[in-house]
Structure formats: structure tokens, C-alpha cells
């Protein structure tokens, strides 16, 4: 098995470049999706502000020694959990989901910003445990504390991202296969129960796998398919993403990849996928650096798999492999919380990755 060989500096440079490039591509996707609207540049302008803020935060967090975060793990955990659990009391309900705080004209989605803290806490927790039973027992409170508030919003998409990242970290920390399978089956059973309890989720499955109700449950899926088909190999013109402008729901956000496929086509979207792959590859390469502490490596790997899982889930929804979940495409979709949350997570991973090098210097 070959290990990817990348120098830390090169990997960090690649990660920063890929983050910036994906952010700029995201702005272009937003411009395209809004070309026919009355204020075509409004969302793109806001996203540019988010990009600059996010990138500045990434750079800032990257330069802070990882020990700073390690020592403040408890305070960060309490703050993150409070922000999640207080949502039913102080949060704003949008599209049936109570997942935002309103700050003036802006809405902040805490579940995006707490991803970094979640990874930090779980990486430190798992790395300190040598006994597999103790590690296994730590998974349950983590699910209860971090995932339940997301389910209560209800935001099943983000809940699945947190759960998958938790399982990845548990597995990487040395968790046993059998216990992981048992956990997976329990979560699958819980998922089935939620599908049974929530008819709107059932309708999404019906919309995906059947042609019944094309104007209702099947609408989103039908429009995504058509946007991809219209894009073809080379895409429409930059201002020709007519379908994304008129039909695809949340073209700048939940359907960002389909918008991109309509505009750029299959061949044009390959560089975007490639940039995403470079980002994940560089993070995995950093997670394999032998001189790093166990918790640092777990955190970096967690960041890579969380980002990869969310991106693949979004893309799978957009190419109609799974029913719509309402997840954003990391670094590309419109949204300040999503973009800044991603930058903070990557910044924390880079801080963890450069810790040993800094010590050596």
C-alpha cells in the first residue's frame, strides 16, 4: 500500500489554493443561478464577503498553535453544544427547520460552525482511549449530545454528516468492525423509523424512484435531471443556465452542483471535482504524517472525511442517486455559515498539521 508523499508545506499550499479556487467557482455558480433574477449580483456579492471572511479566518486559525485549541476544548465544546441545544428556544424557523439564529440581516446556522469543535472534541476523546469498550461507550453520549439537537431541528442531512464523521473517527481510532456494524445497523433502524414517522421523507423517496406526482414530490428530482441533461458535455453559455434560473429549487445552494453541470457541462465540472479531490487528498496526506500526535492525525482525517462525505452526499442528491437532503456543497454553495464553517474546520486541521513542524522549527 503506497502512502501519498507530500511535504507539509506543499500540502498546506494545495489545501489553501483548492479552498480559494472552489470558493471562486462557487461565486460563479451563484452568479449563473441568479442571472435571470432582478438583482443577479446580490447573493454573489454577499458570498464574496463570506469568502474573504472565511479565508481570513482559515489563515488566522492556521497560525494559532493547536495547543491553544486543545487546552480550550472543554469551553469550546460547551459553547458549541449550548448553541445547538438553544436553537428550539432562540432559533429562527426557515422552511420548516429551526436551525438558524438571526443576527441583524444575517442568519447564522450553528450546526455548520460547530463541525470543527465536534471534530476536535471527538479526536481528543478517541485518541485518549486505548480500550475499545471505552471508546465504544463514548460514541453513545456523543450521538446524544451532538446529533440529537440536529434531529430535533429537524436537519437529517447535517445529522447524517455528523454521524458519519463520528463513525469514521471511531473506526480510525481503532474501533472494532463488529461494534461499528452494530452502530451502523442501529442508526439505520433509527433512520427507517424517522422515514416511517415523517411522510415528507417518504414522498422524497417516491419522487426519486417513481414518476408519480411529477409536479409535487418528484418535482425537485425531475428538474435536477433536466438541468444535467441540458448541460450535456460542454454546458450552456454562462448566462444560459435557464433551467437552473427558472426551475431548479435552491439552485445557488442545495442544487449548486446541478447548476454547475448545466452551465459548465460534464467536462467543465471535472476541474471542480478535481480541485475537491486535491483538497481531500492533501488532507489525507497530512493525516498520514508520522510525526504528528494521534489526536492531530485523527482530527485532520476527520476533517477530510467530513468534507468528503458532505460533498458526496450533495453531489449524489444532485445527480439523483439519493433523495434530496438539503445539504450544501462545501465551499461552493451559497451561505456564510456553510463557507465559514468549512474554512474554520480546514484552518483547525491545518493548525493540527503544522504543530509538529512548528515545534521542530
Amino acid at each position: 500500500m503506497n502512502c501519498p508523499k507530500l511535504r507539509t508545506d506543499t500540502a498546506v499550499l494545495l489545501i489553501c489554493a483548492a479552498t480559494l479556487l472552489l470558493g471562486i467557482w462557487g461565486i460563479l455558480a451563484i452568479v449563473t443561478s441568479q442571472a435571470e433574477h432582478t438583482e443577479p449580483l446580490r447573493l454573489a456579492g454577499r458570498q464574496t464577503v463570506f469568502l474573504l471572511t472565511g479565508f481570513a479566518l482559515l489563515e488566522m486559525i492556521r497560525r494559532i498553535p493547536f495547543d491553544f485549541f486543545r487546552r480550550r476544548k472543554f469551553i469550546l465544546e460547551i459553547a458549541a453544544l449550548c448553541s445547538l441545544w438553544a436553537l428550539p428556544i432562540a432559533g429562527e424557523r426557515i422552511n420548516g427547520m429551526c436551525g438558524w439564529y438571526r443576527i441583524g440581516d444575517f442568519y447564522c446556522q450553528p450546526s455548520e460552525l460547530t463541525k470543527a469543535v465536534f471534530l476536535l472534541v471527538m479526536a481528543i476523546t478517541f485518541s485518549g482511549m486505548r480500550n475499545d469498550w471505552r471508546r465504544f461507550r463514548a460514541v453513545l453520549p456523543a450521538l446524544l449530545l451532538w446529533v440529537i439537537p440536529l434531529v430535533l431541528q429537524p436537519d437529517f442531512g447535517t445529522a447524517s454528516v455528523y454521524t458519519a464523521s463520528l463513525f469514521c473517527l471511531y473506526f480510525l481510532a481503532g474501533g472494532s468492525w463488529k461494534k461499528l456494524c452494530a452502530l451502523g445497523m442501529t442508526c439505520a433502524a433509527a433512520g427507517l423509523y424517522f422515514i416511517y414517522r415523517h411522510p415528507y421523507i417518504q414522498r422524497r423517496f417516491i419522487g426519486l424512484y417513481t414518476d408519480q406526482d411529477p409536479l409535487g414530490a418528484g418535482w425537485h428530482v425531475a428538474q435536477l435531471k433536466l438541468a444535467i441533461a441540458r448541460g450535456g458535455w460542454f454546458g450552456t453559455k454562462m448566462d444560459g443556465a435557464y433551467w437552473s434560473n427558472a426551475y431548479v429549487p435552491l439552485a445557488y445552494n442545495d442544487s449548486a452542483f446541478a447548476t454547475m453541470l448545466e452551465t459548465l457541462g460534464f467536462l467543465g465540472s471535472l476541474p471542480v471535482l478535481l480541485a475537491g479531490m486535491v483538497l481531500i487528498y492533501a488532507l489525507i496526506a497530512l493525516a498520514l504524517q508520522k510525526h504528528l500526535r494521534r489526536e492531530n492525525r485523527l482530527l485532520i482525517a476527520g476533517c477530510a472525511f467530513l468534507t468528503a462525505f458532505q460533498a458526496l452526499l450533495h453531489i449524489s442528491v444532485n445527480v439523483c442517486l439519493i433523495p434530496p437532503t438539503g445539504l450544501t456543497l462545501p465551499l461552493i454553495s451559497y451561505g456564510g455559515s456553510s463557507f465559514i464553517g468549512c474554512c474554520v474546520t480546514i484552518g483547525l486541521a491545518l493548525s493540527a498539521a503544522t504543530e509538529k513542524s512548528r515545534r521542530n522549527n
Binding site: G216, L226, I228, A229, F305, L312
Partner: protein, 223 residues
């Protein structure tokens, strides 16, 4: 790390899992842009496009001295694509001056300019609401002229004269309907700037009578 090779192996396993997942994506996209493209595009276009006849504007009937005796007037009705929710009902009650109709689809007839403006402003909030234009033939209030002028009726999406002058000069007044194609959203509303004409309507000509209004009302003029 206690077992570094185990960690490395697991990291590669997870990477392989995500890599395999990633491979499915181009395959799926390839289906939509390759073998499944024609079918997908046709089905989507069928769902989204509507074509129909756009009635021509019927010409006016004008006396020698310039009085308009018959003309077309446009009214706007309000329709709702889905059953009214309590929130929408309370919004409409506050926005409209009269009671809502109990009909299944049309919930209000003849919106005033102020009502039209309020409903248009909330189009994004309530996409299920649809403002439907309706053209009606209007006549002068003088009832002595009604028999002379005759009546019109909608036949095959065309305002057709069925009696009086309206029937006698139907060819001049009626014009020719146009054919349009438009894109619809999921609530069957027309999408802005999507209207395309296959054939433009040819509007009817105004009919100028040889009599003045006074002559028409003074004597019983027959068509």
C-alpha cells in the same frame, strides 16, 4: 499511535470507500448526458412548456362622430393552484376588499389595480396564487343600441359575434388568434420572459359606422 499500520490501513479503506462512491457520480452523469438525455429533456420540456392560442384583440365599433359603442376590456381574476391554507386565507382576506369566492379554483373575480399590485408583490411568497387575465366585450350603456350592436361569445378561444353588427362584421372585427409557447412553474404560472410566439396574433380592425350617436339613438337603425 499503538498500531500505526492499522491506522494507515483503515485510512486507506475509508479513502477507497469514498473513492468508489465518487466513481458512481460520473457514471450517473454520463447516463443523463448520454443515453438518457433525449428522454429526460423531452419529459422535462413536456412538463414545463405549454402552448396555446392567444386571442386577437377584437376591434372597436365607433360612430361617425367618434363615440365608442363596443370595446374590449381586460379583467384579472385570482386563482389558487392548491387548497387555501389558513395563512394564505388570512393574507387574502386582509389584501382584498371583498369576500373570497367559494369556487374550487377561482377565488376572486375582477381584481382592482390596488389589489392586483398587492398580490403581484407577494407572488414569491405565495407562488400557488395565479392572476389570470380575462377579456370581456363591453358595450355602451344606452340599452336602445344593444340590439343594433348585437353580442359576442367565446368560441374556440376566439371572441365571435353572434348577433347584430358584431355578427355582420365579424371578419373585420375579430382578427386572427396567435399561437404561443410559454414555460410554466410547478404551480403552472408563466415564467417571466419565457413567452415565445409561434404565430403573432393579428388584431381586428375598428369598425367606423356611417351614423352618428344621435342618429343611432333617434331612429331605430337596423344592422
Amino acid at each position: 499511535m499503538k498500531n500505526a499500520s492499522c491506522y494507515k490501513k483503515r485510512l486507506f479503506l475509508l479513502s477507497a470507500f469514498f473513492g468508489a462512491w465518487l466513481l458512481l457520480i460520473p457514471l450517473r452523469i454520463f447516463y443523463f448526458i448520454g443515453p438518457g438525455r433525449t428522454e429526460t429533456v423531452l419529459r422535462g420540456e413536456e412538463l414545463a412548456r405549454q402552448s396555446g392560442l392567444l386571442p386577437a384583440i377584437r376591434g372597436r365599433i365607433i360612430t361617425r362622430d367618434g363615440h365608442i359603442l363596443a370595446w374590449n376590456e381586460r379583467f384579472f381574476d385570482l386563482e389558487c393552484a392548491v387548497p387555501l391554507s389558513p395563512e394564505l386565507r388570512s393574507f387574502l382576506t386582509s389584501a382584498l376588499s371583498r369576500e373570497l369566492l367559494a369556487e374550487e379554483k377561482t377565488i376572486f373575480r375582477g381584481l382592482s389595480a390596488a389589489e392586483f399590485s398587492v398580490i403581484r408583490k407577494s407572488a414569491r411568497r405565495y407562488p400557488e396564487l395565479k392572476i389570470v387575465p380575462r377579456v370581456e366585450r363591453c358595450y355602451t350603456k344606452d340599452s336602445r343600441l344593444h340590439v343594433f350592436l348585437g353580442r359576442c361569445e367565446w368560441q374556440n378561444n376566439r371572441l365571435t359575434g353572434i348577433s347584430g353588427i358584431e355578427k355582420q362584421y365579424d371578419d373585420t372585427l375579430a382578427g386572427e388568434s396567435g399561437q404561443y409557447e410559454v414555460m410554466l412553474d410547478r404551480y403552472r404560472n408563466w415564467i417571466k420572459r419565457s413567452l415565445r410566439f409561434r404565430r403573432k396574433p393579428r388584431h381586428g380592425h375598428d369598425l367606423y359606422l356611417n351614423h352618428s350617436l344621435a342618429e343611432l339613438t333617434a331612429q331605430e337603425v337596423r344592422p
